[in-house]
């Protein structure tokens, strides 16, 4: 148990280190520097070099990185040389927007895909199933930069029921806040629905062939009861996995949708910072997102335990379960 936790924490640390080293390397390899951005295009090379030296960017790569790392470990992600705002503060300001967008998109995607997957699995290869497949495939092929304008046109321009652009913070009321978040969230959610639907549909169909489902039917339980009380939980591993991946991905990058709907989120912050060669800001945000990834993955692991009691006891069983052995595991394989 403790060994497993330690090993996991070790992996997490390694991931964060590698990601931040990679970012630092990429940023220092990229042409241009933050000094050129600050001084403007008419600055002399001497002035640029002087400024870079003043900011410490002339030091060796390793020294710069270790310097940043030591500060970051103490919770100091540095201050942007351009805006003079601490990176931590910028993140804290923008995180709620991105987080809400990501979570809302995930909730919408799940709320749509779960009932559709249940219907598909209840009547596999029926006209209904094929119809649902066609619709979700269509959703999958609509990128956010197309869905966004279309949604704006329908709900903001034609129907005038929702605001087109901008962000209302949650402090100004939940209603207005949700109204400003719902369209971008839908734009993001659309592409997720297809994957969620397919994964859950396939797992449900597999589970419905299990003997324990036959046994539940042999007790005279109704189809809906069998589906939700017996088949759903053991079928939700893959869905949980890809939901976690989606959430992590959405927190890192809803750049296009944030730009489209003019939302002051992390994606917008990171894209501006890259353009401005603001190494400090980029490094800070990326490190933060990497931590977010790791945390979400750990939550997903905890989620496996919530779904399947066999996972709670031994980490080994957890890994077997994730490898998809659950449904084949005979009593003998799992029992002590």
């Amino acid at each position: 148990m403790w060994a497993d936790l330690l090993r996991r924490a070790g992996y997490a640390l390694l991931v964060i280190l590698l990601v931040t080293i990679g970012v630092q390397a990429l940023m220092s390899l990229a042409p241009g520097s933050v000094a050129e951005v600050i001084l403007g295009e008419n600055a002399t090379p001497d002035a640029v070099a002087e400024m870079n030296a003043a900011l410490g960017y002339d030091r060796p790569f390793v020294v710069q990185y270790v310097d940043w790392l030591l500060a970051a470990l103490q919770g100091d992600l540095g201050t942007s040389p351009i805006t003079h705002i601490p990176v931590m503060e910028s993140i804290a300001q923008r995180l709620p927007v991105t987080l809400e967008l990501a979570v809302l998109a995930l909730v919408i995607a799940l709320a749509v895909s779960i009932p559709l997957a249940v219907l598909s699995a209840a009547f596999p290869n029926s006209a209904l199933d094929r119809g649902i497949n066609a619709v979700t495939s269509a959703f999958l092929s609509i990128p956010a930069f197309v869905a966004g304008p279309v949604l704006i046109f329908i709900f903001a321009v034609s129907l005038k029921v929702l605001p087109a652009l901008g962000w209302v913070p949650i402090e100004d009321g939940l209603g207005p806040n949700l109204r400003s978040a719902i369209l971008p969230a839908i734009a993001v959610a659309l592409t997720e629905i297809a994957a969620f639907h397919r994964v859950l549909r396939a797992d449900l169909i597999g589970t419905l062939r299990e003997d324990f489902v036959a046994a539940a039917r042999a007790k005279g339980m109704t189809g809906g009861y069998v589906m939700f009380r017996h088949a759903f939980r053991p079928s939700s591993f893959s869905l949980l996995t890809i939901s976690g991946l989606s959430l992590a991905r959405l927190i890192g990058g809803t750049i296009i949708v944030e730009a489209l709907f003019v939302l002051p989120g992390l994606g917008q912050f990171i894209s501006t910072s890259i353009v401005q060669r603001d190494i400090v800001a980029v490094q800070g945000v990326v490190a933060f997102i990497a931590v977010g990834f790791v945390v979400i993955n750990m939550l997903v692991d905890v989620g496996y335990g919530a779904i399947d009691p066999r996972v709670r006891r031994t980490p080994k069983a957890a890994r077997r379960t994730r490898a998809g052995v659950t449904r084949n595991a005979t009593g003998k394989a799992v029992s002590a």
Binding site: A215, P309, T330, G331, K332
Partner: protein, 331 residues
């Protein structure tokens, strides 16, 4: 009230497969009497499990059942899903082969054991729980209070099958179908579970269909035995008669291929040469003819009908064991 509980008449169960239609059950007729234990034996692939599932309406996708299934006077093939759900559980219950797969791994024993009672008997939660405790005691699960709160993986294989039997008994069915109930269990546990099944069958006056590929499983624990081969019934009769005086050539070959305690050491076993015929394209005549030492030309072309060969004992064989060479029965 008729003496017959379940009447199966000319039952066919066909399953679609990439290699053609599998005629898993192809014209089977028999009946289960009230309070009797009927054994169904046959080798793997003979269609016994499909037959059990066909009776329970648990057929896979792309499959069809024809024939007649009468249970307590009700036509099982004609009933609506709602009506069938009133039969599954309180009338017919089933115990499956592998309790590691027939218990839901993520649901506590308590709910798996009580959900049927809550639905069919309309009892309260606490009433269902106290009945569940009694059932677990009846099937010999020690420390039932703790087992109720357990998940299936926390129980041994034998305990799990006892729980499955308790689940099947929970709504007091009149017919219990046990499909290879001990195949997945350790040999030492098999006997206990089989004796348990026989005991509860007798105590409750319930009918039992005990399906097994293992002749010894069925032999001492059933009143009558049906022998199945390649989707058809070869022979049916009182268990003693079938095992002591088998009439169908397949039954006698099968018994001959079974080692017994009296079997001389290192003496060769009389194996049945060949293998099961194709389930998609079975032979036109007797299904056992290609492997039968006594087969004649008639066996190759004509299906032998079920004929009485003794009191309550019938076999579908042109050349039953006790007939003289050359003589044909049933024509």
């Amino acid at each position: 009230m008729s003496e017959l509980l379940l009447e199966v008449t000319d039952l066919h169960a066909y399953i679609g497969s990439p290699r053609g239609v599998v005629k898993a059950v192809d014209g089977v007729s028999f009946e289960v009497r009230r309070g009797e234990a009927l054994g169904i034996v046959g080798e793997s692939g003979s269609g016994k499990s499909v037959m059990a599932r066909a009776i329970m309406g648990l057929m896979p996708a792309r499959s069809a059942r024809t024939g007649e299934l009468r249970f307590d006077g009700k036509d099982l093939l004609g009933l609506s899903k709602q009506d069938l759900r009133q039969i599954w559980g309180p009338e017919i219950a089933m115990v499956f082969q592998d309790p590691g797969r027939s218990l839901n791994p993520v649901v506590r024993i308590e709910r798996q054991l009580t959900e049927g009672m809550r639905r069919h008997l309309g009892v309260s939660r606490s009433e269902a729980n106290s009945r569940a405790l009694d059932l677990l005691k009846e099937v010999g699960v020690p420390d039932p209070e703790r087992r109720l709160r357990a998940y299936p993986h926390e129980l041994s294989g034998g305990m799990r099958q006892r729980v499955m039997i308790a689940v099947a008994l929970s709504c007091e069915p009149t017919l219990l179908i046990a499909d290879e109930p001990t195949t997945a269990l350790d040999v030492t546990i098999q006997r206990q579970v089989l004796d348990l099944l026989r005991r509860v069958q007798r105590e409750r006056g319930m009918s039992l269909m005990l399906i097994s590929h293992d002749l010894h499983v069925v032999a001492g624990r059933t009143d009558r035995t049906a022998v199945m081969y390649a989707g058809r019934l070869a022979e049916i009769g009182g268990s003693h008669d079938v095992f002591e005086e088998p009439q169908h050539r397949y039954t006698s070959a099968l018994l001959g291929a079974t080692p017994s305690i009296e079997h001389q050491r290192h003496a060769p076993l009389d194996v049945i040469s060949g293998s099961l015929p194709s389930p998609t394209d079975p032979p036109a005549g007797c299904r056992f003819a290609p492997r039968c030492a006594a087969a004649s030309a008639a066996c190759e072309t004509e299906q032998p009908p079920m004929v009485d060969v003794g009191a309550g004992h019938a076999a579908a064989c042109f050349h039953p064991v006790n007939m003289k060479e050359g003589e044909l029965v049933g024509r």
